[in-house]
């Protein structure tokens, strides 16, 4: 995340902070214990409240410059993919100097972390740790303070503070900057964890939706192509009967029939591969399947401050069902709930046995934004979505799966009142009957 125009970014940041938080941020040049305390409290508050590393680092470079009465400060953070140190935040330095490129090499930072201490560079023109000594001197830099940012034994970056004069930096001030740097390291770690989770979650959601789209597209295309193929096959197979037994006409028609039947096979294979598959039912307890779905999204709940309350029936017995498909249904419902609650909330999951143990009832309830009645009527339609980025296939696929289990899924909601989904599936204790397979053999 390189900073293109630090001055503009800083100005925007100051404007934002002073607008929302005028009382808390106290811009002061008085370097006393209270100023340090206030700055530290401010930084910690932001580390906990914000998931944006750049915002936190912008505040830190600014505060460090102010408190140490320095010329300016920068953050360089190691990009794990490129292994390059990227400029994340800068304050008080000219554009010309910043554009010069990395002001400290990876080697210098590793050295810094190995020593794991604050380093003072007094000799700007002679110290090898200054990458562009001439430009630094022209910028008016006379002394540099390097503070390592590390997590465990790993280097994550550097906080470099620039001074326009030579001076003594007290032990207290150094300790203060080390403590601030530690907080920044934590913030970077937290942001990376969130980013990782987000990317895993996006991949999962994308994969599910891609598969659903493919299945639906294939079914649609198959229908469109099967109709013209039916015309070709009907006519050609009929004409074969009407042409002489031997000769070029019969030969040509034989080829047309043969090739059309080949097309039929290809389309059938495509459908078998991609359409909503018939469930592969095995004996499983629905409570366990719910547990698996919850495990998949465990980190999402934690990061989005969502509490999950389960009330799973202890009497629940195993039934013949497709575990993978049912898990997909539950994951779809949970993802929808997570996305309906942007500031935390509750998800309640309840399972019960129906009257005379003939069916099981599964209820998912959330405290999210809910949806209006018009949406309720269309919620299971393919390509219908209440989400800006939704493709409208998650619930359509879930509906198909529940239907494949001879069950029923219903949605209840109102705007701002959360949403609940109730699934009822017959409890099947015996292996599924062979009725459908029997018919398949009979079909021409």
């Amino acid at each position: 995340m390189p900073v293109c125009d630090p001055a503009a970014k800083y100005a925007a940041f100051v404007a934002r902070i002073s607008k929302t938080d005028k009382k808390r941020v106290n811009i002061t040049t008085d370097i006393d214990i209270h100023a340090y305390y206030r700055a530290f409290r401010e930084i910690i508050r932001l580390v906990h409240a914000s998931t944006r590393v750049d915002e936190i680092l912008e505040l830190v470079v600014w505060k460090a410059t102010e408190l140490l009465d320095a010329k300016g400060a920068i953050f360089r953070i190691l990009n794990l993919q490129t292994e390059q140190l990227e400029l994340y935040a800068a304050h008080g330095l000219g554009k010309k100097y910043l554009e010069k490129g990395p002001v400290s090499s990876y080697r210098i930072i590793t050295e810094l972390c190995r020593q794991n201490e604050v380093i003072i560079i007094d000799d700007i023109l002679g110290d090898p740790r200054v990458q562009y000594p001439k430009e630094a001197w022209e910028e008016g830099i006379r002394m540099i303070l390097d503070i390592p940012l590390s997590l465990g034994n790993h280097v994550v970056g550097i906080l470099r503070i620039y001074f326009s004069d030579h001076r003594e930096i007290s032990k207290d001030k150094k300790n203060f900057m080390v403590a601030v740097a530690q907080q920044c390291s934590c913030a970077i770690d937290k942001a990376r964890l969130i980013e990782e989770q987000q990317s895993r979650y996006d991949k999962l959601a994308l994969q599910t939706e891609k598969l659903s789209s493919l299945g639906r597209m294939a079914a649609g295309i198959a229908h469109e192509i099967n109709n013209p193929l039916a015309g070709i096959l009907l006519y050609s197979s009929n004409m074969i009967k009407k042409v002489p037994e031997e000769g070029p006409l019969k030969e040509g028609l034989d080829i047309i029939v043969h090739e059309t039947i080949r097309c039929r096979g290809i389309i059938q294979e495509l459908l078998d591969f991609s359409r909503e598959r018939e469930p592969k039912k095995t004996l499983a307890n629905i409570n366990d399947v719910i547990g698996k779905a919850l495990n998949i999204l465990e980190n999402e709940f934690r990061l989005d401050h969502i509490t999950v309350e389960t009330d799973l029936s202890k009497e629940m017995v195993s039934s013949f069902l497709d575990e993978n498909q049912m898990e997909q249904v539950f994951v779809n419902l949970l993802i929808n709930s997570v996305e309906a609650m942007d500031k935390g909330g509750r998800i309640g999951i309840k399972t019960r046995l129906g009257p005379e143990k003939k069916c099981m009832k599964i209820e998912f309830k959330d405290t999210g934004c809910g949806f209006p009645k018009e949406a309720l009527d269309r919620i299971f339609e393919p390509f219908f979505s209440t989400k800006a980025k939704g493709t409208g296939l998650g619930l359509a696929v879930s509906y198909g799966i529940v239907e494949n289990h001879m069950g029923d899924i219903r949605a209840y909601s109102a705007p701002g009142k959360g949403a609940s989904f109730i699934i009822e599936i017959p409890l099947i204790r015996q292996p599924p009957s062979e009725q459908t397979e029997g018919f398949e053999n009979e079909a021409p």
């Binding site: 192509i225 039916a230 097309c263």
Partner: protein, 129 residues
């Protein structure tokens, strides 16, 4: 084979005319129509022994025709044709009283074999209305 009065309901004209040609060659009388509504009107007016029904019609689902036939003209045999050849669709159609299921595309022989099976099972032997 005993000549039957057959109705083909499909919005694809090529399929309607193809079926008509093949079945007329065998001596059957064939009418065709393109929508569910036209189909239902024809069923009420005509004395059909057999219906060839596409499940995806522009105005409604072929299931509606199946339901009407089962309730009002249960002596009519129905053969369902569809491009969505899923077992689930077939099972639903059979539950609603369809006699057979022809996944598209099908050949002359497959169509004739299915009609012959219907005749063997009694299509055309019931009293006409």
């Amino acid at each position: 084979m005993k000549p039957l009065k057959i109705l083909v309901i499909d919005d694809e004209l090529v399929i309607c005319s193809g079926c008509r040609m093949i079945l007329s060659d065998l001596g059957h009388t064939v009418d065709t129509c393109k929508t569910c509504k036209e189909g239902l009107d024809a069923i009420k007016k005509g004395n059909y022994h057999l219906i060839l029904l596409d499940m995806k019609l522009p105005d409604s689902d072929g299931m509606e025709v199946l339901k009407t036939v089962r309730v009002e003209k249960s002596e009519i045999y129905t053969i369902v044709m569809t491009g969505y050849a899923t077992i689930r669709n077939a099972v639903s159609a059979m539950r609603l009283g369809a006699f057979d299921y022809l996944p598209k595309p099908f050949t002359d022989e497959e169509l004739v074999a299915s009609v012959e099976r219907a005749v063997k099972n009694g299509a055309g032997s019931g009293k006409l209305q």
